[in-house]
């Protein structure tokens, strides 16, 4: 008996098979391939940043300020004579952490709220969705800036603020998918098997609905890194002298004419990391979406 439908499995299983297939990944799904390569490299840099950095990122050399890129200072020095290259490397773990964590927390909250809201409906749904409306009522940036102003600047507070501001998106995505999924016959079939609500939600609905939210999350990592940089630029993020890409751009902008390298290279770091995550999300979308569409 041969299968009549395309032999593409779904979701996580599909991703696993896609990665394990013998034909060349970069030809089949270049976005996924280059996404993995770039994000992988950035992560390696993040892990070994201290070892890779030729200088201490906070060590000042006031006799050598705003030196252009040279053999000693690959990407030049900033207005305190600190090595820009080392600072960019040492900022990597920080920016990655902010980017990833400020997606993971909202994603988790969003999945829980969205599942409960969509599955049970009625009063519970109403309460959660009105709560969502309250958060939506504020412009995102205004909400974040206001919250950090209250909480005080810093890494943790940036993550907390972004979580409070962005869980609603995930909750809405998941809720919408649950509303569709709970009417599908396999959910009704699961009910007919006498399974508990918890079990139906965790085992039968969740694996089928998180894909979209996770994909959105992968894209959101890039945006959150940008957001972290923006907040750093505004002075609300990581505090000096700890290096952070956005803050570095902010510091360098005063000397942009004399020393373009101080602002430009951290900008490149943001572009490369953000681009990597975008490619990864795009590639994942191809794998996960095609496989779910065929069911």
């Amino acid at each position: 008996m041969t299968a009549l439908t395309a032999d593409k499995p779904t979701g996580i299983a599909g991703l696993w098979q896609s990665l394990n297939r013998k034909d060349r990944l970069w030809r089949r799904n270049p976005s996924l391939f280059y996404g993995i390569v770039v994000v992988g490299l950035v992560m390696l840099v993040a892990i070994f940043s201290r070892q890779l950095a030729p200088y201490d990122p906070v060590e000042q050399d006031l006799r050598n300020i705003l030196a252009p890129p040279s053999r000693e200072h690959l990407l030049g020095t900033d207005n305190y004579g600190r090595d820009v290259f080392s600072r960019i490397l040492c900022a990597t773990p920080l920016d990655l952490t902010v980017g990833v964590l400020s997606v993971v927390f909202p994603l988790l909250i969003g999945i829980v709220v969205g599942m409960i809201s969509g599955y049970y409906g009625g009063v519970i749904d109403n309460i959660f969705m009105r709560l969502v409306d309250v958060v939506v009522a504020f412009p995102f940036m205004v909400l974040i800036i206001a919250m950090i102003t209250v909480l005080g600047p810093g890494l943790m507070n940036v993550i907390v603020a972004v979580t409070i501001g962005s869980w609603i998106i995930y909750a809405r995505i998941v809720r919408g998918q649950v509303l569709v999924a709970k009417k599908l016959e396999y959910v009704m079939a699961a009910k007919m098997s006498g399974f508990s609500d918890m079990r139906i939600m965790m085992r039968h609905i969740m694996p089928n609905v998180v894909t979209t939210a996770v994909l959105f999350g992968a894209l959101d990592v890039a945006l959150d890194i940008l957001l972290a940089a923006t907040l750093g630029f505004l002075g609300l993020g990581v505090q000096p002298p700890r290096p952070e890409w956005g803050a570095m751009i902010a510091e360098g902008r005063t000397f942009l004419v004399q020393a373009w390298w101080v602002s430009t290279f951290p900008g490149f770091a943001i572009v490369i990391t953000g681009g990597g995550f975008t490619l990864l999300a795009d590639g994942l979308a191809d794998v996960l979406r095609t496989s779910t569409r065929e069911v």
Binding site: T10, Y186, S193, G194
Partner: protein, 340 residues
């Protein structure tokens, strides 16, 4: 006034019977869907009984309330739908009065259901093994080996070739007919006493349909289950069912054993249905469709719901209450006229 009610009650009891061998007894079931601007009475006073080991067919057009009736039996009606009247007693226990816990024991354990669309009735992210084992585990903890063995036997039971190899495959790797078999295997995994089949063959092609129906009939006999089969296809009824209820606009129009219904239909609607399908050994110039369309469920006609489309309708059909009445032993019709 009260006399009328009692009379009505009597009639219902008469239809439902009070025999001890009834596995399922549905009495005066009413289900409505409350929409923002209107209320749809999808099922409006349906009564029937299914005996032990009997296969009972519910036939009707789309929107006649047959699927809603079937789902009500398992209490699978979700808002905005609600069951607002009637009793459904399974083995003497009222399903509508059960607690969630009792209900989940009855579902799957004693009453199982197979669905219309084999494409969506299986969870796409779980293998067939996982889905069968899951229902087996619900019954009580069993070892992995035993579970696998039972899963294989179940797949053999439903006529799946190479069941061992296919266990670890995902639903999308199966054809429509095979998926339907998997679904039946899952439904049978805990040996239910009553199987609800909601249009089990609508989504598969005719050759597969024939196989699935034969399989259902065989399994029903082997396992001694009661079967409620919902369909719009009279051919399916003829092939499968012992007794039939013909539904129209949320009500039962006629109820009889299958042979009688096909040979000697009483209700004009049943007659219309018979005339609108081709039959063997009978040469006719053309099939006669029933004129008109099914009624708007938010704005039902008064009196007999079929009267606007009925060729025999007279003034007395336009008003009043039309309950099933006995026309012969075990043969009930909601038509007030004696048309023979």
């Amino acid at each position: 006034m009260s006399g009328e009610v009692v009379q009505q009650e009597d009639r219902i009891i008469d239809v439902v019977g009070s025999s001890k061998e009834d596995l399922l007894r549905v009495k005066d079931l009413k289900v409505r869907f409350k929409l923002p601007r209107s209320t749809v009475k999808a099922v409006d006073g349906v009564s029937f009984a299914v005996r032990e080991r009997e296969s009972f067919g519910i036939v009707g057009e789309s929107g006649s309330g047959k699927t809603v009736t079937c789902r009500s039996i398992a209490r699978l009606i979700h808002p905005p739908g609600e069951i607002y009247n009637g009793t459904i007693s399974y083995n003497g226990r009222d399903i509508l009065a059960m607690s969630d816990q009792e209900l989940s024991q009855v579902r799957g354990g004693e009453i199982a259901m197979i669905f219309q669309d084999p494409m969506t009735a299986l969870n796409p992210v779980l293998t067939v093994r996982e889905q069968i084992q899951e229902t087996l585990e619900e019954e009580g903890a069993i070892g992995r080996e035993e579970a696998t063995e039972r899963a294989v036997r179940l797949l053999e039971l439903v006529g799946m070739p190479a069941p061992k190899q296919r266990l670890s495959e995902y639903p999308h790797q199966f054809s429509g007919g095979m998926r339907q078999r998997v679904m039946i295997a899952i439904a049978l995994s805990r040996m239910p006493r009553l199987l609800l089949a909601d249009e089990p063959t609508t989504a598969v092609d005719v050759t597969i349909q024939d196989q699935i129906l034969k399989l259902l009939v065989r399994l029903q006999g082997e396992l001694g289950m009661g079967l409620v089969l919902v369909t719009h296809d009279l051919g399916v009824i003829a092939q499968t069912c012992d007794r039939v209820a013909v539904m129209y606009a949320g009500r039962v129009m006629e109820m009889a054993d299958t042979v009688t219904l096909f040979k000697d239909p009483h209700h004009p609607y049943s007659m219309g249905l018979m005339n609108s399908v081709p039959r063997k050994r009978e040469v006719r110039d053309r099939l006669e469709p029933i004129p008109g369309n099914p009624p708007d469920m938010t704005d039902l006609p008064t009196g007999c719901r079929f009267h606007p489309r009925c060729g025999f309708a007279t003034d007395e059909c336009r008003e009043g209450h039309f309950d099933l009445r006995k026309v012969a032993p075990d043969h009930y019709s909601a038509c007030i006229k004696d048309l023979r």
